[in-house]
């Protein structure tokens, strides 16, 4: 399956050719070139998936294939960095997700970005992002993943700051870059720690569950924690930065300053789930060697999901609502991973129940990528028409934008967990897994699911129903290049739930048969319906005074949530008031006065010294000769009377 290399090469070609020659292409040609290359990539990804999943594994267990592997840098006999391609169920699944969403975004942007300054640049960056994201998921070792991890960070930075004349966009891109880089520093330390003890970067070796590999780390502790736990926790901090887990989530809502299709691709469907993917990739290490870190991940993720859901309920910018919703849903995925166990292969060749969380997490990743991309693209279509992100500028749009309305509704139903849409199935599996782990966590997650349904339908009713806002230009449906991806993704969202996902992806590689837990499913559906009903009551008419009353009832909580619980202000305080003032300024003083002072002092001494010798330089040949003679005599005396 060496042709999988072309999944990486084609977008890279797109990036290089459009980046170097793009300005010579007239009109939308650059977009067509990029889209054609991406279509080829997507077809290759589908062929790969087809070939991989149709090949029966040994004893029904899906194999891990490494079609290509080059040794790149060799440090010691065991420690070397390779570049290669690794195909296993989750990486193939991710390839399909990335290429599909990326292709949809490419097509959609033909309409959305039409006539924008820097159209070619935009497509070049999209190519770069697709290349790096595909490289990230097929990485054979943790270092290759780190390289591509940084590359996606860069392309995210470039695309958030696409409108580089807008100060908010520049600030947002800088914030995203710095926050994720800060987290990646811990990731790198974690990688170094892990590889120092295991002497390998290779995922295959790390995940083999080999006890000897971790033997050298046994018994070593640092500040009361095992070294291995520290390493895995640090790696998770890297994942948390990319996946916007609390408290490193602050960059994601601001990242919405980028073009909306970029938000759909990078900040909803693909890049932000890289953290989930990383934890899933290293899942055996987490589960077998550092279960306490895994449980910690679950709690952090659950808290993040709750926090983001509460904040999403009161935001008025529709992209911000979707951003917090994304954070919350990623929280769901990581909770599912955190509570999951490692399945065992039973006598009938199927996987046991313990691995449910792992499968559910990957399932939710898949369905979420589709419906969240759909939501963002729908929001983009609305913004394209209304020229505003604010909910108050919308209302009653269902008549003007029928296609966007229907597809948006499908996505809202999916994320709210209403059968038969895809989100219902994946979210139900996650809830079942959390109930299996700890019932109180299950209850919390069900509550968050209810909040999800509420804020999504608050958004839906505010946009498509409610009181229409006054516009001085006629509102119209988006062009077909924008609506066709919406329709396609809506269709995927409708049918994706019926994919027997467990047969393709599971913790051991054996097939897992999904059973719906009717108790959990019914509860969550009823709760979701109640939430939708409340949202309908509050927001459908648009003239109701109840929302304000409710807001007044919650008072401080409402204000705090509206300001995202002041996390940004806390960061601002810590960085500006504490770090800048107490650490950076003294350091700057030290640099300016002590380091520079030493160098200036040396120069001053030299200057003074030369002034002291200046009288010797008379310019008279004879005085030089006299001095020369004196010197010779002095040397002679030294030679004679030594």
């Amino acid at each position: 399956m060496e042709y999988t290399l072309f999944i990486l090469i084609l977008p890279l070609i797109g990036f290089l050719s459009l980046g170097l020659l793009g300005t010579r292409l007239k009109g939308k040609t650059a977009g067509y070139v990029g889209t054609a290359l991406l279509a080829a990539t997507a077809i290759l990804a589908y062929i790969t998936a087809w070939q991989y999943f149709s090949t029966p594994g040994v004893d029904g267990i899906r194999p891990t294939l490494i079609p290509l592997n080059w040794e790149w840098m060799r440090f010691t006999e065991h420690l070397h960095i390779d570049l290669g391609i690794l195909l296993d169920p989750i990486s193939v699944m991710m390839l399909v997700v990335i290429s599909t969403v990326s292709l949809m975004v490419h097509i959609y942007s033909l309409g959305y970005m039409e006539g924008e300054k820097g159209f070619q640049r935009y497509y070049a960056f999209l190519g770069l992002f697709t290349f790096s994201m595909c490289g990230l998921v097929v990485a054979t070792n943790i270092f290759q993943m780190y390289i591509f991890w940084e590359l996606v960070g860069v392309s995210s930075y470039l695309l958030i700051g696409f409108y580089y004349t807008k100060p908010e966009a520049v600030a947002a891109s800088k914030k995203a870059f710095i926050v994720t880089r800060f987290a990646d520093m811990f990731f790198l330390i974690g990688i170094l720690l892990l590889s120092y003890f295991t002497k390998t970067f290779d995922f295959g070796l790390l995940c083999s569950g080999e006890e000897n590999l971790f033997a050298s780390a046994a018994g070593k502790t640092f500040m009361g924690g095992a070294v291995l736990s520290w390493a895995m926790a640090l790696i998770f901090i890297g994942a948390a930065g990319k996946s916007a887990m609390f408290p490193l989530h602050i960059w994601l809502p601001d990242a919405m300053e980028g073009p909306t299709p970029v938000s759909a691709l990078i900040h909803a469907a693909t890049m932000v789930v890289a953290g989930v993917y990383l934890v899933a990739r290293l899942f055996p290490v987490y589960y077998f060697f550092t279960p306490e870190v895994l449980h910690g991940i679950a709690y952090v993720a659950a808290f993040t999901a709750l926090y983001a859901a509460i904040v999403a309920c009161v935001q008025t910018d529709i992209k911000r609502v979707l951003a917090f919703s994304t954070i919350s849903q990623i929280g769901f995925m990581l909770v599912a991973l955190g509570v999951s166990g490692m399945g065992t292969v039973e006598a009938n060749g199927l996987e046991s129940h313990e691995g449910l969380g792992y499968m559910a997490s990957m399932f939710h990743l898949f369905t979420h990528a589709m419906f969240k991309a759909l939501l963002f693209m729908g929001a983009g279509a609305i913004i394209h028409t209304v020229h505003s992100n604010e909910m108050s500028r919308m209302g009653g749009l269902r008549k003007q934008m029928p296609i966007t309305h229907i597809t948006f509704l499908v996505a809202c139903l999916a994320i709210a967990g209403i059968p038969p849409f895809s989100g219902f199935f994946s979210k139900d599996e996650i809830l079942t897994a959390t109930f299996m782990f700890k019932p109180w966590l299950g209850v919390t997650m069900t509550f968050i699911a209810a909040l999800t349904a509420f804020y999504m339908f608050r958004l839906y009713y505010n946009i498509f129903w409610g009181k229409p806002a006054q516009h001085d230009h006629p509102l119209h449906e988006a062009p077909s290049s924008m609506t066709s991806p919406l329709v396609f993704l809506a269709l995927v969202t409708v049918v994706a739930g019926f994919i027997p996902f467990g047969k393709f992806v599971s913790s051991t590689g054996a097939a897992y048969i999904i059973h719906l837990d009717w108790k959990v499913a019914l509860t969550s559906v009823i709760i979701a319906l109640v939430s939708i009903f409340i949202a309908w009551k509050l927001y459908c008419k648009g003239s109701s005074k109840v929302p304000d009353k409710v807001a007044g009832f919650f008072g401080p909580l409402y204000t705090a949530a509206k300001h995202r619980f002041y996390i940004d202000e806390v960061y601002q305080f810590i960085t500006h008031k504490i770090i800048f003032r107490c650490i950076s300024q003294p350091l700057a003083w030290f640099d300016r006065h002590v380091i520079d002072g030493i160098l200036n002092g040396i120069a001053w001494i030299t200057c003074r010294g030369s002034l002291a010798f200046r009288w010797m330089q008379t310019g008279q040949l004879q005085s030089y000769a006299l001095l020369l003679l004196c010197g010779c005599l002095l040397l002679l005396c030294i030679g004679l009377f030594r």
Binding site: Q617, T618, G619, Q620, L621, Q622, Y624, A625, L626, L629
Partner: protein
């Protein structure tokens, strides 16, 4: 015939040498400085001849070297005179204290 002892020659040449150096350092006129340089050179020539004559009587290298050195000093004098003439053309005198270009 009684030979004059070697030390006598050396004393004469030393006096010439230091007289030359003294002149080089103290004289104001460039021509006088040049003459002093010639004195220094001549004193070394005397030394060559004397050492050859007294220490290695069978050999002639010192004598030839002396002739060689005289030839060189003649050429050097010609060059120096040319330089001095040029200096005179530029600053209209040959006083050493007026040559301060080395300082700049």
């Amino acid at each position: 015939m009684e030979l004059i002892p070697m030390e006598y020659y050396l004393v004469v040449s030393s006096i010439m040498f230091f007289a030359g150096i003294y002149g080089f350092i103290t004289r104001k006129n460039l021509i006088a400085v040049l003459i002093s340089v010639e004195l220094v050179l001549t004193s070394t020539d005397i030394n060559f001849a004397v050492f050859n004559r007294f220490l290695f009587p069978g050999h002639l290298e010192g004598m030839f070297f002396t002739l060689f050195s005289i030839g060189i000093s003649a050429a050097e004098t010609a060059v120096a005179i040319a330089i001095i003439i040029n200096i005179y053309r530029n600053i209209k005198n040959v006083e050493v204290r007026n040559l301060k270009k080395l300082k700049d």
